[in-house]
Symmetry: C2
Subunit: 390 residues, 2 copies
């Protein structure tokens, strides 16, 4: 991946962004981001949470994306605007109208995304002036400021870029540290490109990318009400990209951001890659990987650097995937501690001191596979999430 | 529930039990229990883990129960004998043979149950002499010693009894503190009765009871490889019970033991009752209750005495149950903090200081309901389970 001179959502030509402090967060840190597509194209695609309890900005932005065009995205941290009823939806609508008025746009093409505590109305008396402030601060180098303003419990901001030899770029930013599970992981992501594609092509590329990136991280099994991933194309490069290369570029940037999300998950001390191999189908592999990733006992064991493979087998045994219990092999960091469903190599050979841990489960039932990322379960996670709203 | 003079598995007439120290546990605490049915009837029923990775004693005891008769049960803590292959199965077989030889029984009617670490062979050089020791220690007052010997991370032993005015008794013991999820919860349970019923009637009563008791506790979402619930009937009271009263008695004793399991779950500081009401079907209610019970973020919030109802709604939203997101009501300890999917009564009115917390979710989609018990997620749980095998 080649780095461009600018980062995140403004790495691609045709985009301006800003991140400002509207005062929504009590901490006084930046909490409002604005991303504007200056065109010439406004083509866009979006993927949203599968949670049936959807935040107001998700309901709004789903409607916006049906038109296939997005001219701007307003994102705020400090409040999810979820479970806030019709008044919460009016708040989102007013946010889009405010951005449209400031920028001379059509409100029906302004997407909105929010993140923070569920069940609390946003302070509109602070948010709307913040939108005006952000409009005044827009710049072609605003990608980093925007990425900073969408952080909640994230300890670092997250951006990624890919530039094609053919002259177009895909860039993006992401936030997400807790309630990280598909589909999608709990997060806000905005991807931008200056390639020239219509919304249907963008949608293809985005769904293909999220399926094997954001949908394959699962920090804590908890699905958000606010997950939003947007892909905006300005066509400012004047280049129609090769479709396969573009799809791979979106996948690469998405995988980079997804990996950064897992690397910064709340309270985590380990980043765990789960490779399921020898599955009869990819669906089987994903089911097994996800079930392993959600096993609290295993996540505790890995926190304690304990190669407790019995908990891997106990997790696999709860799935409906095709396998023979006596045919399961499990490796931890390359040591096959379980062979044929029983004791394998010496567990004392496993070195788990590093931050990254790899669990490989071979179902010996076929040739399909999947990789999913998760984290360990720590006292810090408990602490952070038992004190969040108080 | 009336208490009989003896407790647990020896509360009913016709049973003897013992609990001894075989030396399987490094701690030197009791680790082997024996329960013997002296008849005249040997009728029995059993329910086992739904995990497809089943421990050797589960595979053995499932075969024993197919005959509908159990004369004795050998239970050990200190090792699960799971994922131990054909040699592990031979160990279970040898255990049953040893008990049969000591007591003059048919090994094919001796059930075996084990609990402890997965993936480690049992120390048969210690276990088999322990069986002989237990056989010599059997007594009609051995119910408490047996309940003590099956503890692992349990902090207290668990027994329960019910005596009918008609002259028969149901008693039982249970262990289980971690890997507590259906179906069944991770646990060993032996119920005994001196009522006179055949194995089919016992099976009916046992399955009816477990469905709404042991299957409705879910401490940590992790299903064991060793879950075993046995019901043995001696007919020593000479009484054929009323079937409905007997079923209710088995349910009462099972509910009592299940409640004790949740009360002693690893690291827990709260016992959480989840009442789902207004569901279209009982299956919907159970799905919603189980999904709420497995939400780590909510479990952390309750640990922090934070009435974070947004996390309840986010959990409900991931289910396939019938409901309208704008029709959900949620109460915490009787305060309806969420009404019609949005903000309800003042969350500051919720008092969560007590050990027991009640979450009520009304789906407003019908008249069915279900209750499920779980625990909070604590740093102590993480600590206990990150250091378990090391």
């Amino acid at each position: 991946m080649s780095k461009s001179t600018n980062v995140g959502v403004t790495a691609a030509k045709g985009f301006r962004a800003a991140g400002v402090t509207a005062g929504i967060k009590a901490s006084g840190t930046p909490d409002l981001a604005l991303v504007v597509n200056d065109g010439p194209s406004l083509a866009a695609a979006g993927v949203f949470t599968a949670n049936r309890v959807k935040a107001a900005p998700v309901l709004w932005s789903e409607q916006v994306l049906k038109g296939g065009q997005v001219s701007a995205v307003v994102l705020n941290s400090g409040g999810a605007n979820a479970c806030t009823g019709p008044l919460g939806f009016q708040d989102t609508h007013a946010t889009a109208e405010k951005a449209a008025a400031e920028l001379g746009l059509n409100a029906g093409e302004v997407a909105v995304a929010s993140t923070g505590l569920i069940g609390v109305r946003l302070p509109m008396d602070l948010l709307l002036p913040g939108v005006a402030l952000a409009a005044g601060a827009l710049g072609e180098d605003g990608g980093e400021a925007a990425a900073i303003a969408i952080k909640t419990t994230d300890t670092v901001h997250k951006t990624a870029e890919y530039t094609s030899p053919a002259g177009w770029t895909v860039g993006g930013m992401a936030k997400g540290a807790g309630m990280l599970a598909p589909s999608l992981a709990t997060m806000l992501v905005v991807l931008t490109t200056d390639a020239d594609l219509d919304s249907a092509a963008l949608d293809d590329a985005l769904r293909g990318a999220t399926r094997t990136t954001f949908d394959r991280i699962d920090s804590d099994g908890c699905m958000s009400t606010n997950d939003t991933v947007l892909l905006l194309a300005s066509a400012a490069s004047g280049t129609v990209p090769d479709r396969a290369e573009f799809a791979e570029a979106v996948r690469t940037v998405s995988a980079d951001l997804a990996r950064q999300l897992i690397g910064d998950a709340e309270g985590a001390s380990k980043e765990i890659r789960i490779d399921v191999t020898g599955a009869a189908t990819e669906d089987d592999a994903v089911e097994v990987a996800r079930t392993i990733s959600r096993n609290n006992l295993l996540k505790c064991a890995i926190h304690g650097e304990d190669p407790n493979w019995g908990r891997v087998l106990a997790a696999i045994g709860t799935t409906s995937a095709a396998f023979d219990p006596d045919g399961l092999d499990v490796a931890i960091n390359g040591v096959w501690v379980c062979k044929s469903g029983g004791v394998g190599e010496d567990r004392d050979l496993v070195d788990m001191k590093g931050r990254e841990v790899v669990i490989t489960a071979n179902l010996n039932a076929g040739t399909a596979g999947a990789t999913l990322w998760t984290n360990d379960l720590t006292a810090d996670y408990v602490h952070e999430n038992s004190a969040y709203s108080t």
